[in-house]
Symmetry: C2
Subunit: 270 residues, 2 copies
């Protein structure tokens, strides 16, 4: 992607994400209707839909040649990552949005010919905007985030990990490996928003993040952010992310990424 074009799109995306955040914030205490999607705990509100519609309109008006891949279906049917694609989660952490009225984010990853060029994650209620341009580092508001230190061993590491993956019946990963991992780590955390968990990892609050079911919009921005501070992001078996399908994700400091994948993650045959 041409540098001038990249800067222009970045500035535009930043303006829109802040505007969308203001709209959500101004209606945070309004009564809302909550629907469920794939299961009773997969929540969606009219605010998710309105926010995605907001971005869909903006992109269509300003960049009619760009594509949009969005969680709520206001975008395009996409079969490959040719051209410029905006991958958007209008509210990442909808359960937090509904139950907590905070700890959710807007996530925008912008890909050009399959390469992640721009990532933005906006922690709406805290007013913190994480941004990254490929090759130019990651930022928390106006402060550049330092590279992740690489000298903390796994036993002193904190990993974002859901309790779900320690249960035998989960269809994705052998729970015993996950239990061994928990015994090895210093601790685990769970915040309920994938985008924020990537952002916290990029900030150095977490050392890694492991999960079994993310959609492209959950990690499109976060993976760019984490890579810009020297972290590694792959599927849980260390293969490359494809950005078009539901997938496992393992993100972390480079010195623990391979160890977690090879020593603790045994994916189930599906």
């Amino acid at each position: 992607m041409d540098q001038q074009k990249k800067n222009e799109i970045f500035t535009q995306a930043k303006t829109w994400i802040l505007e969308a955040g203001e709209r959500i914030k101004s209606k945070i205490d309004s009564p809302r209707s909550i629907q469920t999607k794939s299961n009773p705990n997969d929540l969606v509100t009219e605010m998710d839909q309105e926010t995605e519609q907001f971005f869909a309109n903006k992109i269509k008006d300003t960049y009619p040649e760009h594509y949009l891949l969005g969680e709520e279906g206001f975008g395009d049917e996409i079969e490959d990552l040719g051209g410029t694609v905006w991958i958007i989660d209008p509210i990442d952490g909808t359960m937090n949005f509904v139950h907590q009225k905070r700890n959710f984010a807007i996530s925008i990853g912008i890909y050009h010919e399959g390469t992640g060029e721009i990532g933005l994650i906006y922690n709406v209620m805290e007013g913190i905007l994480y941004t990254a341009k490929r090759g130019e580092g990651a930022y928390k508001n106006d402060s550049r985030l330092p590279d992740l230190s690489q000298d903390r061993p796994l036993k002193q590491s904190i990993l974002a990990l859901n309790t779900t993956w320690l249960i035998p019946e989960n269809p994705y990963v052998d729970h015993k490996g996950m239990q061994e991992l928990v015994k090895t780590l210093r601790s685990t955390r769970s915040y309920g928003s994938a985008a924020l968990e990537f952002a916290f990892l990029a900030e150095g609050l977490l050392d890694g993040y492991l999960t079994m079911t993310l959609m492209p919009w959950d990690y499109a921005a976060g993976s760019i952010l984490v890579r810009e501070v020297g972290g590694i992001v792959t599927r849980a078996d260390q293969s490359e992310l494809d950005l078009l399908n539901k997938t496992t994700v393992l993100a972390g400091r480079s010195n623990i990424h391979e160890e977690i994948a090879s020593e603790y993650v045994q994916l189930k045959q599906r």
Copy 2:
């Protein structure tokens, strides 16, 4: 406790907790020495110790007849809860303090003849002070917290629960019951600070909090806060907390508290 005295102590404690918070904040980026206590993941820093010493000096000077039970041992040897006892965790969530430089709290519970009269939890880096006086409600800064709603069933509830309790080798609780609980719940969270988890429960961000090993200073303030919004706080087997020993704790909305304890928690014989 006499109302006038209670108000005076509350105001004093509030002044001190904010001052202690400022001291921590001003040194948040200073290099620090980190020791471990009971195990390699039980961290303590000179800031935990300095902060407790700060409170110990203040209390001794101002209320020489009061007792202090503190995490770092600058208080008194206490065998019962007679008189007025300040139960203080100078930094609750020391691991977060060390790794994240946020998401930790100062916790102060003030008990008179065994009854919790005043609770304060200060989320230092966010500048949010949670307070409660027995019978007078709980506050987040200057806003009174509403009573917890009691109509959300367990399957729509979010519980603060560590991954540790889902592991067979944990010595406290049958892991299978915990796994069943996770399958029943809407979701779990883990923030790494017991005091903040009580505060988030009091705020309604969480529906419950279950853990197997808390010390009195971890829940002395939080339990007062949660009770003031209509929540229930007991040991995990529904027996009363004694505030002098390490214990299990189950806190939650009244409509799910009994269900969790009786249907999912099977404590191991120890």
